[in-house]
């Protein structure tokens, strides 16, 4: 925890300083007689400075704590995100026990499918088709580890298709006719 705080603190310090230097390069409109206090870079510059300071405080705090600990310990409630340890949100009070690899796989499935759906499929396919495919495939993939028999698999896939059909029909209908918004 302390080590990741230290790294994030340094990243924030660097980011804050980057923002300050970018802000100082913004035009000041002195040529049109503008009041220097209205320069566009003023507020982002101040904010960048504050962020850099807060990042520095966070890094120093983590450093002091790491010294005190002797070495950065990894408490048991931590999980890994993208290869760096992180503090997990508190798990629900009652949950299904499962090996850590399952939740990582589930997370990566959802992330990939969502990105493919929202960033690619929505602009290439008709909205209802993209939605149908996304919902049906994602539900099936997420439930894959829980298929217990061929019959169970058939029921679950059938369910996924029904939900996907319902969403693909109702979302465009409601949004285009009731809320009068355009869909991608």
């Amino acid at each position: 925890m302390h080590r990741s705080d230290f790294v994030i603190g340094l990243i924030l310090l660097g980011f804050g300083m980057f923002v300050v230097s970018e802000s100082s390069g913004m035009p000041r409109y002195a040529n049109i007689g503008a009041n220097p206090v209205t320069a566009p870079g003023l507020v982002p510059g101040i904010l960048g400075g504050i962020l850099a300071f807060l990042g520095l405080v966070m890094a120093l705090r983590a450093l002091i704590a790491m010294r005190a600990d002797g070495r950065p310990a990894t408490p048991p409630d931590q999980i890994e995100v993208f290869g760096v340890e992180a503090k997990a949100d508190e798990p629900p009070p009652s949950y299904v026990p499962e090996p850590p690899a399952t939740s990582r796989k589930r997370f990566l499935t959802m992330l990939t499918m969502s990105l493919v759906f929202a960033a690619v499929a929505v602009s290439r396919l008709p909205f209802w088709l993209a939605t149908f495919l996304f919902v049906a495939i994602t539900i099936t993939l997420l439930e894959l580890p829980r298929f217990s028999s061929a019959r169970d698999a058939a029921v679950r896939i059938g369910f996924a298709l029904v939900i996907a059909g319902g969403v693909a029909w109702s979302v465009p209908y409601v949004f285009e006719n009731v809320f009068l918004v355009r869909l991608p």
Binding site: L12, P40, Y95, M110, S114, I139
Partner: protein, 509 residues
Amino acid sequence: MEGLAYFGAAMIEFLDAASLWNILWATLLGIIVGMLPGLTATLGVALLTTLTFGLPPDEAILILVCMYVGAIYGGSRSAILLNIPGTPANAATALDGNPLARRGEGGRAMGIATAGSVLGSFIGMLMLASIAPLLAEAALRFQSFEFFWLAVFGVVISGRLTSLDDPLKGWIAGFLGLLVAMVGQEAIYSYPRFAYGDTNLAGGFGLLPVLVGLFGFAEILTVMRQPLAAVIKTSTDSVIPKVREVLRYWRTIIRSGVTGTLMGLIPGVGEDMGAWSSYALARGASKEKEQFGKGSIEGLMAAEAGNNAAVPGAMIPVLTLAVPGSAPAAVLLAAMFIHGIRPGPLIMITNPSFVYEVTAMVFLASASILLYGLLLTKPLMLVLRVPPSRLMPIIMVLCTVGAFAIASRLFDVWVMLAFGVAGFILRQYGFPMAPLILGVVLGPILDSNLRRGLVLSDGSLLPFLSRPISLALWISIALTILLGIPTVQRFLADVVRRVKGGRAPDTNS
């Protein structure tokens, strides 16, 4: 007295079949708009403004008020059930509402939120009916200097409250949010900051795509990353709030109602700050501070009373100054102009009954919220029984539509995705999301008011520090920060102990 007569007359006028039907469907539509991430009160009111153009003015305004009240209330449903606030105003609601739902007390949480919303809007309504012109004059005392401090105040209290054991991370999230708001054309010279020649970036990040990303998509990813929750059994859970449970916190309700109304009437600040400042005050005054953020009934009630009281609060400057207190109120004001109603300083002279008509509208909208609160909670609870593997893909579709809907730009969908992933990572490292989103809301206010204040004071910082309201605000900010630093907390605890320890022998001797 005269006001009461006007109010009674307006109530009688609205108690016919056509009006009641309008109230019922408009409030329900509002609740649905509020629940769906991405659709907000502003969008709902704007949509109905065009559609109700052909109706008589009072019917049209009635429908719009119902939509507005319903949407602010509806956002609490998804905040409690899914930890996804339907509108930015409900971010504080999620803090205590969602832990309750996770404990299997979702019905109770929704009942409490309903009670808070209804009572909050009643208090706001009373203030609207009794002292509207007075309050509007007070709102005029908020000038550039005060707006600047208010924006800082919002970020600081929200950062502190959402990250109680480590406020530093809350404040970092808040300042990141303020920086997100800096991207794009600024308000004075239209200089595109951090745009690097890109037209989309020059337009800045929309609040809604950022909101839907940080709360919606990031929440989906978080749910997937966590161990799966077992299906929650709700046998002991009650849907109808116990009167005693609500009345126990009458002080909180009144305080939050008044705070929410006051925040609502300050132009441009609106429901978000109404919820946050009520929540902060409730925690400060509470005997059960340690419950806050873990499922506090008091905190949930304060947040919902605060944001719903801001609705009639925002109506006060609309009616008496023709200045909107919040974004949806701006559309409501436009609708009044379109229908030939002239709100403004003269309304108490030219059209005094209208203020009380609006009061009656808020009353009826709140009453129908109560009705729907009782009717809809049971069916909504079914959402909790859907396994995440089936629910989350559907929510992802809604997030995508919600990000796209407001401006029909594909860029907004990418913004939603980017902020979703970034928000997920930040959350894993213990950074709260709510101050970030409040920072995005308050960033433009902070930016333009600081620079405008400096123009008005000719570069001097003195007015920022010495004007009465500014003084009160910056001292509160300084105290919030100081008291949030662990070293200071320890020092104070030490002093308190020593004073007590020093006094004890005295009394003995």
